[in-house]
């Protein structure tokens, strides 16, 4: 069985959409992107690293934004390891491996959003290793005032857009960007419906299945992804699944390097219904609609980032109370506990975790923590830990 494949059941109304999502999610050779470029002669494909990149901007330029999440557990690392010390997380190794093995040759540019020092420096490595390809660092503002951070972010996006245009992308127009924003809003609204299904009936659509759908979105345009999400929703609504007496949990910390899907399934098999998570956070990073049909759509994109960006570890918490956003999600999803699930050596997640744990303690919300690498292959310990956690929450309402 392939690393991402699920047990298939021909009678499952979700099976066709699930199979489509799986094939897209495991497409490390980016065949889908190649096909898109063939269908759009002259158009560029723009890769981007986690967490968040302004996808509507790239779509408005006539390019295909492609989320790059590393090689997961499907890729043997042959050369990537030789570029990083043992104490660096795994995603830059496998991402570099993908590039050095020419799997990313189809990408005309790579964007490295500001998330941590490792991804930032990976951008510099890209510039040195692949000088013929455009590698841009996207500095997301940590000042959330429109007159300061907003102006800067608009300039950042304009700078990158101009460079992409010089390399063959369409010039940016307000009309195209407004259209791309509408498409993105549509996708976001549809994904929200999916989240709602997971919240109300998590057994109808498991987190491991939703994960594949989100991952598929990394290589699709907003319109194509929305269509797939709708098929998913239709299939999920037709299902007649069994309800399980599981514990409802929120998972946090996996916003960049992704856990192996087997790890997500392990959590599920351990008695946890994951009703909210930050896997591949980017597509859900903006938690409200972007203003549509404005005179200055770049500013609308910037405002959405400033005002509606998710409180995650790489984003400075200025006036809010640390942990409040997580507690709000726990309450909104009626979760009974939180599992911190961070990649080893992930500075943002691991530095954030003690503050979030303290906030949960104050709110009497049980939590546990585990670490992984994207190529982790042993899950017994995780199964036992998650199982003990879910049992404790079920029996006593706490992890104690």
């Amino acid at each position: 069985m392939n690393a991402l494949s699920l047990p298939t059941d021909a009678s499952d109304p979700l099976a066709p959409a699930l199979e489509r999502a799986r094939s897209l999610a495991e497409d490390l050779d980016l065949a889908t992107v190649r096909a898109w470029k063939t269908a759009h002669p002259g158009a560029l494909a723009v890769g981007y690293m986690p967490i968040y990149a302004p996808r509507p901007l790239f779509e408005a330029l006539g390019t295909l934004p492609v989320g790059v999440f590393g090689g997961g557990d499907q890729l043997d690392i042959i050369r990537g390891d030789s570029y990083f010390q043992s104490y660096i997380c795994h995603i830059p190794r496998s991402t570099l491996e993908l590039a050095l093995s020419h799997r990313l040759d189809v990408l005309d540019a790579m964007v490295f959003p500001s998330i941590c020092d490792v991804i930032r420096n990976l951008g510099g490595m890209w510039q040195m290793l692949f000088p013929d390809r455009y590698a841009a660092y996207l500095d997301l503002p940590q000042n959330f005032d429109a007159a300061r951070g907003g102006v800067f972010y608009v300039a950042e996006m304009s700078r990158i857009a101009d460079e992409l245009t010089r390399r063959g992308a369409r010039p940016l127009t307000a009309e195209a960007l407004n259209r791309a924003i509408r498409d993105e809003n549509e996708r976001r609204a549809t994904l929200q419906q999916l989240d709602e299904v997971r919240r109300i009936e998590p057994w109808r659509l498991r987190a491991s299945e939703a994960y594949l759908l989100l991952r598929a979105g990394a290589v699709l345009s907003a319109l194509d992804h929305t269509e797939l999400v709708r098929r998913f929703l239709d299939g999920a609504r037709l299902r007649q699944p069994r309800a399980y007496d599981n514990v409802r949990v929120v998972v946090r910390g996996a916003f960049c390097e992704q856990p192996p899907i087997a790890l997500i399934r392990t959590l599920e098999a351990s008695g946890c219904d994951i009703v909210d998570d930050d896997f591949q956070l980017g597509l859900r990073f903006i938690d409200a609609p972007i203003a549509e049909d404005t005179q200055e759509p770049l500013r609308a994109l910037a405002d959405a980032y400033l005002r509606h960006g998710t409180a995650t570890a790489s984003r400075y918490i200025a006036n809010e109370v640390k942990g409040d956003a997580l507690i709000a999600r726990v309450r909104a999803t009626e979760a009974e506990g939180v599992i911190f699930c961070a990649a080893s050596f992930c500075d943002p997640a691991l530095l954030d975790q003690p503050m979030l744990e303290a906030a949960l303690d104050r709110a009497n919300i049980p939590h546990t923590a585990l670490k992984y690498a994207e190529n982790t292959g042993q899950f017994q310990v995780i199964r036992e830990q998650a199982g003990a956690f879910s049992d404790a929450v079920k029996l006593w309402g706490s992890a104690a």
Binding site: S82, Y83, F84, Q85, Y87, I88, P92, F112, S114, I115, C116, D117, V118, R120, N121, L122, G123, G124, M125, Q127, M128, L129, A136, Y137, L138, D139, P141, Q142, N143, D145, A147, R148, G149, V151, F152, A155, E156, R159, A313, S314, Y316, I317, A318, K322, S344, F345, C346, D347, P348, L350, L351, D352, Q353, P354, M355, E357, A358, K371
Partner: protein, 438 residues
């Protein structure tokens, strides 16, 4: 992130030398006075601002009559005083991951243990955390963590990274707007009075004077023998200007004195001071990338000095300000100048720029080799260093060495292992020299 600095108790001990250089004595007194002021800050009614070394705004802080505290320096001093291991253990017991920056954990452990500084006096709690987000993501998390502990206000200065190899007008404008509209008002609120722009301009002029002399000290290493060690000795030279003293008369006097001493050493054809006294022979000239280890600092230094290896230039000594590429603070454009300072710190340069700077140092200082000390704690420095190593060897033909340690976690300083590597590397340089001579 990392940073350096001089300590009161562990200035480079010249065991073989009875008298310290006058500049050393001067610096020691400056630092002792500063910690004394900090210890009396509450009774004297003075306010305290915690901030970071790269992108520090000491002139602004001083102009408002505030006292700066630099937690990185507290952490490295704890390392040199052999206290960091226990502080880190304390933080890990509290739930901080073994994977993350040990400066952060050392600082938190020190705070939980009473916040006693290097002179044995308690460091006051902050009235404000000035979060200068320059070149290191961890800074942001560090002050988020401290805010949870101290329950004090934080003001953020987001300094964009030179990811694409330049300072754009938008980047400079963004920093200037934050300085004017956010940082200065926050500092003024703490100080209780308005910023005196004339005093700020005066301090920026003082900064420029000290920077001129510091650059002269760095460039003295072009001589043979080099009169300075630009890494192990260099971390002492940057003490005043990277910490609480930039923009003060004290700093101007210190760097003038240091420059005079270095010029004297050039005239006398003397090598640098080492932990064992004056260097007797310059056998190898090295450039070093990366921060030093602080827990075994003198042991680490001796691995080089006893083999006649002098570090003629280093990048770590540029993290709090990169002056030898031309930047100087400018009183005519105070905020723009402060912005350019922050934007230009070494760790705010992208990997191609860092590599180019190292290449320049290797060539200009006629280095026989270059060494990378890769520290586990600091991804800002470490991620990408193996590529830098390959690229520098390719460009210069000069062989590179690579060792791994940590800033202040003694568990990651394997003395025998590191010594073996250093010796093997220096033997390789020796063999290479002999081959060239033959």
């Amino acid at each position: 992130m990392n940073i350096d600095i001089t300590t009161v108790n562990s200035a480079p001990r010249a065991d073989a030398e009875a008298a310290k250089d006058a500049s050393q004595v001067r610096q020691k007194q400056m630092i002792a006075d500063h910690y004394e002021q900090l210890s009396r800050a509450r009774e004297d009614g003075r306010k305290v601002v915690y901030t970071f070394v790269p992108g520090n705004l000491t002139e602004l802080i001083r102009s408002l009559g505030l006292l700066p505290v630099l937690p990185e320096i507290n952490a490295l001093q704890s390392g040199m005083r052999k206290l960091s291991g226990n502080y880190i253990a304390e933080a890990e017991k509290l739930g901080h991951s073994e994977d993350v920056c040990t400066y952060v954990k050392c600082d938190i452990g020190m705070m939980k243990s009473g916040n006693v500084g290097p002179t044995g006096m308690r460091i006051p709690e902050p009235d404000l955390l000035l979060l200068s987000y320059t070149g290191c993501f961890t800074f942001m998390k560090w002050f988020e963590l401290l805010r949870e502990e101290y329950k004090c206000p934080v003001v953020m200065l987001h300094v964009p990274y030179q990811g694409d190899g330049e300072i754009t007008p938008a980047m400079r404008d963004y920093v200037v707007r934050q300085l004017r509209d956010v940082v200065v008002p926050a500092l003024e609120r703490v100080a209780g009075h308005a910023l005196d722009m004339d005093d700020l301009a005066r301090r920026l002029d003082l900064s420029r004077q000290a920077e001129n002399d510091l650059v002269a000290v760095w460039e003295a290493a072009r001589h043979r023998p080099s009169p300075i060690d630009g890494y192990f000795g260099g971390v002492y030279y940057i003490g005043p200007i990277f910490s609480a003293f930039r923009g003060t008369e004290d700093a101007v006097d210190y760097y003038r004195l240091l420059r005079t001493e270095v010029e004297h050493r050039i005239a006398q054809k003397l090598g640098p001071m080492t932990p064992d006294g004056p260097s007797s022979e310059e056998r190898y000239r090295l450039v070093v990338e990366g921060p030093p280890n602080w827990t075994s600092f003198n042991d680490f230094w001796r691995m080089f000095s006893r083999e006649g290896a002098t570090v003629v230039s280093s990048t770590y000594t540029r993290v709090g300000g990169l002056y030898d590429t031309g930047f100087r603070h400018d009183s005519r454009n105070p905020f723009e100048s402060l912005a350019d300072y922050c934007l230009g710190c070494y760790t705010n340069l992208n990997l191609p720029m860092r590599t180019a700077l190292l290449e320049r140092y290797i060539r200009e200082y006629q280095a026989d080799g270059f060494l990378i000390n890769s520290v586990k704690s600091c991804n800002s420095f470490s991620a990408g260093q193996l590529l830098m190593l390959r690229e520098l060897e390719r460009r210069t033909g000069v062989p590179g060495g690579f060792i791994e340690s940590d800033l202040v976690d003694p568990r990651y300083f394997g003395k025998a292992n590191i010594e073996n590597r250093v010796q093997s590397y220096l033997q390789m340089l020796e063999a290479r020299k002999n081959k060239v001579t033959a």
